[in-house]
Symmetry: C2
Subunit: 297 residues, 2 copies
C-alpha cells in the first residue's frame, strides 16, 4: 500500500461536516469558522516508548491521540470541529491501522469532529494531531485570568491514570481512554475565570494558571476527589498520584467564590493574592509529601 | 532545560500579528479568520533519515520544515498566517535549537507568519508543522477543477532538488531551502483552474490534478523549464529529474488557454478530455524514458 491507498482505506470517511468545503485529498483542507467566533488551535504528539508503550493497544492509542488534543480544546472552552493527523510509522501493518483508526474515529464521531487532512510518513512510531475548534469572540477560557479569592474546582477524580501506570493490576481505562471534558469546557464559558486541563499533574498544571495569572493558591489535599479504588487506600499513598501524576485529563478551573458552577465538580481550594502554592489539610495542617510534576525532558 | 524553558528561549518571539489573541503559552492558540474568508489548513512531517539526513544543517531543516507547508498553502492560493510546531528530538542540544529556530524564523518572518503553539517531545528527531492561512470565500485553488483544453504551466525550474540529491557536488540550495511560491499562489486566485505544488515530482503531482479533475494531459517534455546547470547536460540525463524527482516546490497549475497568466511561468502542456498522461516532445515524438513518482512507502 502507498500513502494514498492507506489514507483512502483507513482514514477517508463518508460523513462530512457542513462547514468543511474540502477535506482530505487536496494540498490543504478548507473549512469555515462561524461568524463572530474565534478559531482555537492545539497540537500534541505521542511518541512510542515515551507517551505510550506496547501495553497500549493500537485502538486505545488512536483514541488517546485525539483525546489529549480535544482535552486542550475543552480547557479553552472551545467546541471541537476538525483535526489533522500526522502519523509516522515504521511499516504498513493493516491490522494495526484498522485498530488504530477504529479507536480514533470512535472518539471523533462521539464529538462530531472531522479528520480533514494530515501526513503519513515512514519512521519511528509517533502521532501528532492538530485539533481545531471555535469559541464565541472573547469567550475562551484562559490560564491567565484567575482572580484572588476565586474558588478552585476540578472535574472527575484525580490520580487514577498515574496510579494504574505504577500498579499493573489496576484498570488502565483512565490512562488509555481518558474522556476529554469537552461538554464541561463549553458549559464553563461565561462562568470560569481561568481553566486548564490536567495532563502533567494538578500541581504542575495549576502552577501554569498561577504563573500566568500572577496569583497564588491554597489546595486542601483531603478535598481532592478520588475514585472509590484510590479512596480505599491510605491518603499518604494516593495523594502523590492525585497531586502530581499526569494523564487524568480532567479540567481544573477557577470561579468567583459567590457563584455556583454549572457542571459537576469538586471544590479543592482557593486562589490567593500572595504568590506560591500551599498544600494543606482542611484542618490547617501542612501537607509535607513529595510533589513532582511531569518533566518533559 | 525543560519544555517550557526551551519554548521560552528559542520559540517565543515578541512580534505578534494583530489577528492572534493568544499565541504560545495556553492550552491552545486563539486567532481570528477575516470576514468572508475561509480557513486553509495543511500539515507535513519531516522525519530524520527519510526526508533529511546529516547533510541537512539544522538551520536549513528549520527553514524547510516550514517551507514545505507554506508551499501547500501556496498551492491552494491561500495567504499564510499562522503555524504550529511539533518538534520531537532525542535530547536538548542548545546549538542545534539555536540554528533550527533561526532557519525557521527566517522564513516565518519573510512571509509574516506567526508560530502560535506546538509541542516539544523527546524521541527520534522529527518535525511536524501545521500551517494555517485563509482565502476569500470560494477563492481557493483546487486539484479537482482542471478543464479540458486548459494550458498547463509550472513556475521556476524543475529537477534541481532531485539532481542535487544524486550529484553531490551540485549546490543543494534548491533542495535545502526551497522558496514556497506563496505570492504566486495568491496571484493565481481567479486565474488558475487547478493547482498543486510539486513535492513528489511533476508526473506524480500533475497526476493528482488529473485524477481529481477526471481529465488527461499531454506534457511536452522539451518545454519543461530547466536551470542553466541542468540545461547544459543531455536531455536524456535531466528529464527523469525534471519529470519525476520531488522537492522542487514549484507550482503546477492549469488555466484557460485564452488567458494570460498573471505570474512568471512556463507553458508545458495541455489538459485533455481523454484520461491518461502523455509525455511527448514538441515534434510529436513519444518520450520513452522511465518515470517514477516519489513513493512514501
Amino acid at each position: 500500500m502507498n500513502e494514498f491507498s492507506i489514507i483512502e482505506k483507513f482514514f477517508v470517511k463518508k460523513k462530512n461536516r457542513p462547514d468543511v468545503s474540502i477535506g482530505i485529498g487536496d494540498d490543504g483542507a478548507i473549512v469555515s469558522v462561524p461568524m463572530n467566533h474565534e478559531l482555537v488551535i492545539t497540537t500534541d504528539t505521542l511518541v512510542n516508548n515515551i507517551h505510550f508503550d506496547e501495553k497500549t493497544s493500537p485502538e486505545n492509542l488512536g483514541y488517546k491521540s485525539l483525546a489529549v488534543n480535544l482535552s486542550d480544546l475543552a480547557a479553552m472552552g472551545a467546541t471541537p470541529a476538525w483535526f489533522t493527523l500526522a502519523l509516522t510509522m515504521p511499516q504498513v501493518d493493516e491490522n494495526w491501522l484498522t485498530e488504530f483508526s477504529h479507536g480514533l474515529f470512535d472518539l471523533a464521531n462521539a464529538f462530531h469532529v472531522q479528520l480533514i487532512g494530515g501526513d503519513i510518513t515512514r519512521g519511528p512510531l509517533s502521532i501528532t494531531i492538530g485539533a481545531l475548534g471555535f469559541v464565541p469572540n472573547n469567550g475562551a477560557l484562559l490560564r491567565s485570568t484567575a482572580k484572588a479569592h476565586d474558588n478552585i474546582y476540578v472535574t472527575g477524580t484525580l490520580g487514577d491514570a498515574g496510579f494504574s501506570l505504577k500498579n499493573l493490576d489496576f484498570a488502565r481505562t483512565r490512562l488509555d481512554r481518558p474522556t476529554p471534558r469537552v461538554h464541561e469546557g463549553e458549559k464553563l464559558r461565561g462562568f470560569a475565570h481561568a481553566a486548564i486541563d490536567i495532563s502533567d499533574g494538578l500541581v504542575s498544571d495549576l502552577g501554569h494558571i498561577l504563573e500566568k495569572s500572577q496569583k497564588g493558591a491554597i489546595i486542601f489535599v483531603d478535598q481532592i476527589p478520588l475514585s472509590d479504588t484510590l479512596r480505599a487506600l491510605s491518603l499518604d499513598k494516593v495523594l502523590p498520584y492525585a497531586l502530581a501524576s499526569g494523564d487524568d485529563y480532567e479540567l481544573c478551573f477557577t470561579m468567583d467564590e459567590n457563584k455556583k458552577p454549572p457542571i459537576e465538580c469538586t471544590l479543592i481550594g482557593k486562589i490567593t493574592e500572595d504568590a506560591g502554592l500551599r498544600l494543606e489539610f482542611s484542618d490547617g495542617k501542612k501537607y509535607d509529601g513529595k510533589v513532582d510534576g511531569y518533566q518533559h525532558f
